[in-house]
């Protein structure tokens, strides 16, 4: 069964780490669905969050291969612990006057925010888990979406172990 897994990787914050990880995925034929990377609160380390697909054996092998990289300090498959996930999406919509109230309603209904307004465009910001982002996507689809930008996933486990 192919499933998406969110893999959280703690790495040394040094040049070339991201290429090592990305090379590993491409070299071994694994797929990257989304990827985010930023330093942790301690700038010596960075956190890489990758969403990837595969059956249980493939995910196990991906985690082991990641662990084999020298600058990789810790690898966790967040699907096997209780974890919270967030994505962010920004949508620029060209709005006619008669649509403006609809857009406001959509923003309210999906818990999104209008973060920029011009006479012709609105920019909506959605923050939430994958389902919430997807809900917004479906609701704005009938309108004139000029630009749609979506982040990769960031995720955090609820246990205090990681």
């Amino acid at each position: 069964m192919e499933n998406f897994h969110t893999i959280s990787i703690l790495v040394s914050n040094e040049s070339g780490v991201l290429s090592r990880i990305v090379d590993l995925f491409s070299g071994r034929g694994y797929n990257i669905e989304s990827l985010t990377v930023a330093p942790t609160i301690d700038r010596l380390y960075s956190r890489v969050t990758i969403v990837t697909g595969g059956d249980a054996a493939a995910i196990e092998q991906i985690c082991k291969q990641l662990n084999r990289l020298i600058p990789v300090i810790k690898v966790a498959d967040l699907n096997i612990t209780e974890a919270l996930e967030r994505e962010i999406a920004l949508v620029k919509i060209q709005v006619k006057d008669e649509e403006k109230s609809d857009i406001l309603r959509i923003a309210e209904a999906t818990g999104s925010k209008i973060i920029d307004v011009t006479d012709k465009t609105y920019i909506i910001q959605a923050l939430g888990d994958e389902k919430q982002i997807q809900a917004l996507v479906e609701m704005v689809r009938p309108y004139s979406v000029k630009e749609f930008v979506r982040s990769g996933k960031v995720a955090i486990s609820r246990t205090n172990r990681f």
Binding site: S19, D23, R68, I70, V72, K74
Partner: protein, 570 residues
């Protein structure tokens, strides 16, 4: 910090001395000149000048294979560094420790497409265990310390250190670190005792156990423990190509090599086993044959220091991550303490079944008035065994025949490219073996195709008196490919007939002894002459082109489908 200041180049050499490196293989060039200047001014490190950078890496690997110590190579930037890639990949696959120092253009030029610039860290990233670009001379000694640590611990492998030109002339104090701090690198050496207990119980109760000994047994130095546990458990032992020499061939429990060109009985034993005790093997496709039909009834106990090897190809029922020697020592202790019932009658019965399979042997006689390669290799074995030689090979038919016909009773005597299958590996690796073990008899058994892949190294052999005996099995073809074409491609010998110069004249041109052997009665005198010679030797054995390697399990077929002669249908 105060103290005497040294240049990066001097620090490199002083660090090598700290690591106990006495010999390096290399080739100079523009940006690495400062290091060669420093080499000129010292006597501690001996540098061997090769004729192609690829050979420097293979020689360093050959050195590492026969000594267990890391091999070291030094090359310049750009083309010099690019030429090392095959060698680095070869060492990575087979898991041998080498440290490769490559020159790089100055830090301020990196990325500007400078003369002889190549992104070496990028190019080698996926074929080495780890690599570094040193950006500050102050980091150099720490990086070298880490490089040797990473190369030699866990599953050993190659580490590349890229040295920008300006770093090599900048100065700092020398204070070689005593320890290594790598938060993300902590190989697990001690196998889990509960897993080991489970494994011991499973093996004791097994009716048809088999041990597969891979290259990891050699790396771990666990061959004595392997013999002990095999005898305790009355379990027969098959080895992989890389595990050659890890189990004494004169033991009644020895099954020889398994896999594509392994013995009929080893392949059948592994296919009918109920428990497989796999030690330090990656379960490469050349070992398993058709993966979905590999040992379907067996429970698999897999010991490896590299967790990635476990359940990568063959799913493991009892995985044990750890150093094989530690694991076996623990298992032997547990055995002695608990004295488990090993159901000896079952095991005797199983050994009896295997004995019946031993009747099935490959046809080794050929109908030809030309020499048989197998007769040559058999003779080489018989005439050199008293010298306990180091036997290197290239890749192809001669390699498989050597693996089949030479008998090894100790590790680190057989040097061959397993995972990557690199033609051109054997000869330079043999030079590395000569540098490491100047008193050993060193053979390189080659094909007429593969010897030509690094034949320029004949000059290096002459320069340093590396007495490699190159035994060229000369059948005028890329024999292994020809063999596949004969069976699988309707005898369309597409681009496999290959010419070569007069090898005897070529050897003589380099100043070494060249011997031509065309008849059976010429084999013995030629080998005797080669052993007695003071110089390197090249023997050209002109052999029958159509001779085939058997047993043969075709790629993708299950291990039980073994072809034993030309008469066996595909």
């Amino acid at each position: 910090m105060t103290g005497q200041m040294f240049s990066g180049a001097e620090i490199l050499l002083k660090s090598l001395a700290e690591e106990g490196v006495k010999e390096i293989f290399g080739y100079p060039g523009g940006v690495i000149l400062t290091v060669y200047e420093a080499l000129y001014n010292q006597k501690e490190v001996k540098h061997y000048l090769v004729r192609h950078e690829q050979a420097a890496i293979h020689a360093a690997e050959g050195y590492a294979r026969v000594t267990g110590k890391p091999g070291v190579a030094l090359v310049t930037s750009g083309p010099g560094a690019c030429n090392t890639v095959t060698g680095i990949a070869n060492a990575y696959y087979d898991g041998y420790p080498i440290v490769v120092f490559t020159g790089q253009v100055g830090l301020n030029q990196i990325g500007n497409d400078a003369f002889q610039e190549a992104d070496v860290v990028g190019i080698t990233r996926s074929c080495c265990k780890h690599n570094y670009l040193v950006k500050d001379v102050k980091d150099l000694q720490r990086v070298i310390k880490e490089a040797f640590h990473i190369a030699t611990t866990g599953k050993p492998g190659p580490v590349v250190v890229d040295l920008p030109k300006d770093i090599l002339s900048q100065k700092t104090v020398f204070d070689y670190p005593k320890t290594v701090k790598l938060a993300g690198y902590n190989p697990n050496y001690k196998g889990h005792p509960i897993q080991i207990a489970k494994a011991l119980q499973t093996l004791s109760e097994a009716h048809r156990p088999i041990i597969i000994s891979g290259g990891g047994v050699l790396t771990s130095g666990a061959h004595q423990e392997l013999l002990k546990i095999a005898e305790m458990l009355k379990a027969p032992v098959a080895h992989t190509l890389m595990g050659t020499g890890t189990f004494p061939s004169n033991s009644p429990l020895d099954l020889g090599m398994l896999g594509m060109h392994g013995s009929f009985w080893a392949n059948h034993a592994v296919s009918h086993a109920d428990v497989i005790f796999a030690l330090g093997t990656r379960f490469n496709d050349r070992i398993t044959g058709c993966l979905s039909r590999f040992a379907r009834d067996a429970r698999v106990i897999h010991v490896d220091i590299d967790p990635c090897s476990i359940s990568k190809n063959v799913k493991s029922d009892i995985p044990i991550v750890g150093d094989i020697k530690n694991v076996l020592v623990n298992m032997i202790e547990q055995f002695e303490k608990t004295k488990p019932n090993i159901y000896e009658a079952d095991k005797e019965k199983w050994l009896g079944e295997i004995a019946a399979w031993r009747e099935k042997r490959a046809e080794r006689k050929i109908n030809s008035d030309k020499l048989s390669a197998q007769v040559v290799i058999q003779k080489l074995y018989e005439m050199t065994k008293e010298y306990n030689p180091i036997v290197c090979t290239e890749v192809g038919q001669h390699q498989m025949w050597t693996a089949q016909l030479f008998k090894f009773n100790q590790p680190r005597k057989f040097v061959t490219s397993g995972g990557l299958g690199t033609m051109g590996f054997g000869f330079p690796a043999a030079m590395g073996a000569c540098a490491a073990k100047p008193d050993s008899l060193v053979l390189n058994i080659a094909g007429d195709g593969s010897i030509q892949m690094n034949i320029q190294e004949l000059a290096t052999c002459m320069d340093y008196g590396f007495k490699v005996i190159n035994c060229v099995i000369d059948n005028g073809y890329l024999g292994m490919v020809r063999q596949w074409q004969e069976k699988l491609f309707n005898k369309h010998y597409s681009e496999t007939k290959i010419s070569h110069p007069d090898f005897v004249k070529l050897a003589e041109a380099y100043g070494m002894l060249g011997i031509l052997v065309q008849k059976e009665e010429e084999i013995e005198p030629a080998i005797r002459k080669a052993i007695e010679a003071k110089s390197p030797v090249l023997i050209d054995f002109v052999t029958e082109p159509t001779e085939m390697v058997y047993p043969w399990v075709l790629a993708g077929e299950p291990l039980t489908k073994v072809l034993l002669s030309n008469e066996c249908s595909v």
